[in-house]
């Protein structure tokens, strides 16, 4: 099943799919204040947030107010305007040959799916023939190391870890040194989950970044924030805080195989304009898929590619 199919399948399963909500609004009606308000609510219901929804709706209103267009056309127009916002941010996550090693770091709040994503990425890149080291820099959460170990064994990737409670910055330092000696292509650092308002934990992350920069001033080459697909508007606060501390270079959104649509990506795109690399639509490594703006926008509105 293609990721898009998966995504649209997932969305179809939800009891109140965006399409039925939105198409219901348009059926046989003139575009007036009521339709516009319902449309705004439908977008907010998909987590686009108030300001992004209002912006999209305003543009829509400008073009269609007072008209009775056919429903498909209106949906197409909407998905087009969302695609326009997201398309510039489509960017494949690649391991560059210019760095030795390429350093990739995953950050985010607790439970967003960092460890699972690290495992999936390890598999993805080792299948591309890269030599990968996984670093279990989450030395806090009980069994985080064991969880990553499971992934490392499955994908036959080397795992570097320390005992629980060890200094993650020191571990990262050792890992980079080791990677240089072993001529590793990619270091994938899984950091502990932390809420962005926890100053001491954010300081710990800042220290990890400082240590990386000491060895590789240009690194981390990818500093990726992992967002939970069910997250609401707090994602804006998360990205802002992690951007400050860890110079985020791109986004990964997980758990889009559930009933959540992750519409906050649109709000994040409007506000920060950072690349969106991948979305997670299932349990397996293959379910971590390259982000495709058009397909995502259509799925968000309940449209499929064939429509």
């Amino acid at each position: 099943m293609s990721w898009l199919k998966k995504l649209t399948e997932g969305l179809k399963k939800t009891s109140s799919s965006a399409k039925s909500k939105i198409s219901g609004i348009f059926i046989g009606k003139k575009i007036d204040t009521d339709t516009i308000e319902s449309l705004e609510e439908a977008l907010i219901s998909s987590d686009l947030g108030v300001s992004a929804s209002q912006k999209i709706v305003k543009e829509f209103e400008k073009n269609y107010s007072g008209k009775t267009s056919n429903q498909e056309e209106l949906l197409e127009a909407l998905s087009k305007s969302i695609t326009n916002i997201l398309e510039p941010l489509e960017k494949e996550l690649i391991v560059s040959d210019d760095y030795h090693p390429h350093i990739m770091m995953l950050v985010g709040v607790n439970g967003s799916g960092k460890t699972t994503t690290a495992g999936k990425l390890a598999k993805r890149f080792s299948q591309q023939g890269k030599k990968v080291i996984l670093v279990a820099a989450d030395t806090f959460r009980a069994a985080a190391i064991e969880q990553l170990k499971g992934w490392a064994e499955k994908t036959s990737v080397e795992l570097i870890s320390a005992e629980r409670g060890a200094d993650p910055a020191a571990l990262v330092y050792q890992s980079i040194e080791k990677a240089r000696i072993q001529k590793t292509d990619l270091i994938l650092i899984d950091t502990a989950g932390r809420l962005q308002n926890r100053i001491e934990l954010m300081e710990e992350l800042a220290k990890i970044v400082r240590v990386i920069k000491k060895l590789e001033p240009e690194a981390p080459h990818d500093s990726l924030i992992v967002l939970d697909g069910t997250v609401g508007q707090n994602a804006l606060s998360q990205l802002k805080a992690f951007l400050d501390v860890a110079a985020i270079t791109g986004l990964i959104m997980t758990k889009l195989d559930g009933s959540a649509r992750g519409g906050v990506l649109v709000a994040l795109a409007e506000e920060f304009g950072l690349p969106i690399h991948l979305i997670g639509v299932g349990e397996t490594a293959e379910d971590l898929q390259d982000f495709n703006a058009m397909a995502y926008s259509r799925a968000l509105l309940g449209l499929t590619l064939e429509d």
Binding site: S45, D47, V109, G111, R141, A142, G232, N234, G258, A260
Partner: protein, 498 residues
């Protein structure tokens, strides 16, 4: 964006003068911005709509306090409404049953089930003195069982030994048997995270629930959740059936609208809040704090509360002046009674004071309770305005009419009049002897120091106890001491939550 909300509201209402009651326009104008605030806090769209209707009904026609703008009054009503909804039906975990009491933890991936299971085990062990066993039924996430085992060691509670070959359902059965045999009071079953639309896994959860017959089925939900809270809550409620919610990551800076969405949709109470990574970071859910967090207009709410306090204080000052002048009529007596009632009645008011248990018993023996206050109120309300202003008018036939009108007896009317006269006499004495200055000190400046007020009035608890103690036959001849409590500054309001 909602920093600007206040400004917006101000501009909406700057043209309006003070009104006595909230009009529909007042309410609609204020609610337009409240709606945006709630949506911005991630309260789900249908829940916002439902809540707006509730508030609209409640707010239109409600009184606007002096010195408060209509919009501010609406926001206070919204805040109270939120608090009410969020806090409803709160009750303790029902773990005092024939052991083992099973608690089933459910939720989406990454919502914090496993960590919360560990916290709950520690809570039940230390706060409820239970012998607790943890068991992981999570065969999906790598190392989930390892994580729970480590947590069980940290909390020093029991753990079900692992078995790779068993299904979650088999594990659940084994866990129950094992908890029974080992004499555990509580068994906490941690399950794998699952998407609410994954029918296979949801059915598995139903099966686990039916074999384990839990006393509590808890939905562990992330406070960072957005609009999906509706889908998750609906699915877990309808497919599994839950008894309560635990909201995790409340130590984050999310406004946490999911709390309202989930509460409203499931009708289940939010039992706990996860506020950190450590095992003891589990708190009882605080609806007042959650309400102000979602609404994020704490300053407006505080302002209205302050205005309400100021009015109570004005009333108290007015009373003090009347007392000092010896002008204490039945209207004043009535307002004293009402204030006493508002503060939660005689029992709760006295209950707030230290060392008052003894007096409480004597009061009960003398028949001083809230129903008596209600009857007295009825008596005064059955009088004409003139009668209330001058008791001298009350001849036998008037008293008979009043007794009839209030559903009491002439004796009760007589008793009230006598009591009022005693009190008025005492007021007069206090007015002249202790002086208005003393009274003013007693009524204070509205600070929150309940015992201090008594001390500064020169009326210590012993004296009060004597006063009440001597009123064996006369019932309430010394209510004077008590109605003074009614005149306390508004700082002492047991109904107000901070």
């Amino acid at each position: 964006m909602f920093d600007s909300l206040k400004d917006k509201l101000q501009s909406v209402f700057s043209g309006l003068g003070r009104t006595g009651a909230l009009s529909e326009t007042d309410v609609n104008n204020a609610l337009r911005d409240v709606r945006l605030a709630l949506l911005d806090a991630d309260v789900a769209v249908p829940v916002v709509k439902q809540f707006m209707e509730l508030i609209r009904e409640r707010a239109i026609g409600a009184a606007v306090l002096k010195s408060v703008r209509p919009d501010q009054q609406v926001i206070k009503i919204v805040n109270d409404g939120l608090q009410e909804i969020l806090g409803g039906d709160a009750e303790e975990l029902k773990v005092d049953v024939t052991p083992p009491a099973v608690i089933l933890m459910t939720g989406l991936q990454g919502s914090g089930k496993t960590t919360t299971a560990g916290k709950l085990a520690q809570f039940l062990k230390t706060k409820r003195k239970k012998r607790v066993m943890l068991a992981s039924l999570d065969m999906t996430r790598p190392a989930a069982r390892e994580q729970l085992r480590i947590l069980s060691e940290q909390a020093e509670v029991g753990i079900l030994p692992e078995d790779d070959k068993q299904t979650p359902l088999q594990l659940a059965k084994r866990a129950i048997k094992s908890a029974e045999l080992q004499g555990y009071d509580v068994l906490i079953l941690d399950t794998a995270g699952r998407q609410s639309i994954d029918d296979g896994l949801m059915e598995e959860l139903v099966a686990i629930k039916s074999v384990s017959n839990p006393v509590e089925t808890l939905l562990v939900a992330d406070a960072l959740t957005g609009q999906d809270a509706v889908n998750t809550a609906t699915a877990f409620k309808s497919k599994i059936g839950i008894s309560g919610i635990i909201l995790t990551r409340l130590d984050g800076d999310a406004r946490g609208g999911a709390a309202l969405s989930m509460r409203q949709i499931t009708g289940c109470p939010i039992k706990f809040a996860g506020v950190g990574e450590k095992l003891d970071a589990l708190e009882a859910f605080d609806p007042a704090r959650m309400a102000s967090r979602i609404l994020d207009m704490g300053d407006v709410v505080a302002l209205v509360e302050k205005a309400a306090e100021a009015i109570e204080q004005e009333e108290a000052m007015r009373m003090a002046q009347r007392m000092a002048k010896g002008k204490f009529d039945l209207n004043d007596f009535l307002s004293q009674l009402r204030q006493l009632k508002k503060m939660g009645g005689v029992g709760s008011l006295l209950g707030m004071l230290p060392g008052i248990g003894k007096i409480n018993k004597q009061l009960a023996a003398a028949g001083v309770d809230d129903s008596m206050i209600n009857r007295q109120e009825a008596i005064i309300l059955s009088m004409t305005k003139k009668e209330r202003a001058s008791v001298g008018l009350l001849n036998a036939s008037r008293r008979k009419r009043i007794a009839f009108g209030s559903g009491t007896s002439v004796q009760e009317v007589n008793r009230l009049v006598k009591q009022y006269q005693d009190m008025a006499r005492m007021m007069k004495k206090m007015g002249t002897k202790a002086g208005a200055a003393g009274l003013k000190a007693m009524l204070g400046s509205g600070t929150n120091s309940s015992p201090g007020v008594f001390n500064s009035s020169g009326m210590d608890l012993d004296a009060m106890s004597k006063q009440f103690g001597s009123s064996k036959s006369g019932g309430l001849s010394n209510l004077g001491g008590m109605t003074n409590l009614g005149g306390l500054p508004p700082g002492i309001n047991p109904n107000r939550k901070k």
